[in-house]
């Protein structure tokens, strides 16, 4: 559970780890019913056929850049974020 939480970028308390571990155990045990399902070999992502919709690029500004800037943590027109290391 700790490893899954780390991958999911969640910091859990010990109580949460115990609770979610039990919940997931129940649910995953239920998911094992899928082992009995026949494999159709078809793994389409969408439930209906979807085709690529391509068009020429068009230059436009539909959203105000200043509004975007003001909604983020910025410093001198740059977005502030945490360290990468």
């Amino acid at each position: 559970m700790k490893s899954v939480a780390r991958n999911a970028r969640l910091k859990l308390t010990e109580a949460e780890i115990r609770e979610f571990a039990k919940d997931l155990e129940d649910v995953l045990s239920y998911f094992s019913i899928l082992d009995k399902a026949p494999d159709t070999g078809k793994h389409d992502f969408n439930s209906v056929p979807v085709s690529n919709v391509l068009r020429e690029d068009e230059v436009s500004r539909e959203i105000n850049a200043e509004m975007l800037r003001d909604s983020m943590d910025t410093y001198q027109d740059m977005v502030r974020g945490p360290k990468l290391t």
Partner: protein
Amino acid sequence: MTCLISTEKLTALNDKYRPFAEIAQDLKEMNEYPPKFHFSAKDNICATGFQARAGSKILEGYRPPFDATVVRKMREANGILIGKTNMDEFGFGTFCTNSAFGIPLNPYDLERTCGGSSGGAAAITALLDKHVALAESTGGSISCPASFCGVIGFTPTYGRVSRYGLIDYANSLDKIGLVTRSVADLKRFLPVISGPDRRDPTSCVQPELRLDGPKVKSVAIPEEALQNLDPAVLRAFETALDKLSEMGIEAHRVSMPSLGFALAAYYVLATSEASTNLARYKGMLFGVRGGKIDQSFNDYFSEVRSANFGKEAKRRVLLGTYTRMVGFRDRYYLKALAVRQLIIKEYQGLMEKDDLIITPTMPFIAPRFTEIAKMKPLEIYQADFLTVPPNLTGMPHISLPCGYEDKMPIGMQLVAPHWEERRLLDVAERWCDDFKIRFPEVSG
């Protein structure tokens, strides 16, 4: 012309029933020419002038600078957006008890749920005359609350309605639809919100929406869907089948073995997709910001997510992360994709013989909050076993009120082949000519 809708009236309704996450503060446009209609949008649908929080604390303060395509279309058709409706966080729930902004209450009984995740949408539609609600369904979030609140819930074919401006839960499953009080409203507003939109490629392959066509002659009832039902629901459903027969619609009992795999396949796909979609909430782009900026990348993100996601959101992110991990992907995710195709094929086979598939919408009437509090997460997921199959297949479906147990509504659900919304409209129109939908007595 006198406007019957005011912020004061909506606030009074909200104080008692809590359907809204946010209410419009200025509704004078309702009185302007040309005549207007009022609508609401589930809080995961973006609209200018309102926050879009999708029931989550992590989106507190996020004000989208654009309208979702469906909101733009409704506004262009002279609709006035009167509020954003409350919902389970990101759509994660069956009873609308997982919102960070209060729990909407059933208009028929304040001690009961109005259903989820579009609970606020169904509640306000039941409460407010002439109202239409934009809602969204991933695994039953339109049918379920429509059934519990006694209104009409319509989920179009996956791809019929643009999702541009929708806060994603699971991209391969999300569908925007309608909650209405009448079939006339459904026929009026479905064409308004439907149609191709270059901002959502899944909407660009759809055939034309047709409202009229051949009359529906028969429906199929999967035996597997009639197990573990509340006796009151089964009674109301069987009475409804008798009425359909009197209307000239035959019902045939069939077997649909793949239904047994639908719930597991759905929860694998939905949580897998949700766990990747929710990766964007990290305290930088939308809503609340993270804490100390001098932390490491992962600590910063983890801290803000842990502090602001609710319990069910954490549970589903964990589940979806697990089922996508190395070593489990083939067993869960790929198998679930294969099962989806199996179920689509089985539905299609049945609908070569019968026009529609019919089941009750929910296995029980709206439960009390005290009963919900005793349910384990898996038991809550299992309550979706009737609404999940059509959602998994992307097939259009409708929940119609079909009876009452004491005062509480009971719904039936009809499923049509992809793009055949008109079959549902045909039955809905004929059904509602005969069946009188009740609405709750409202006191503000």
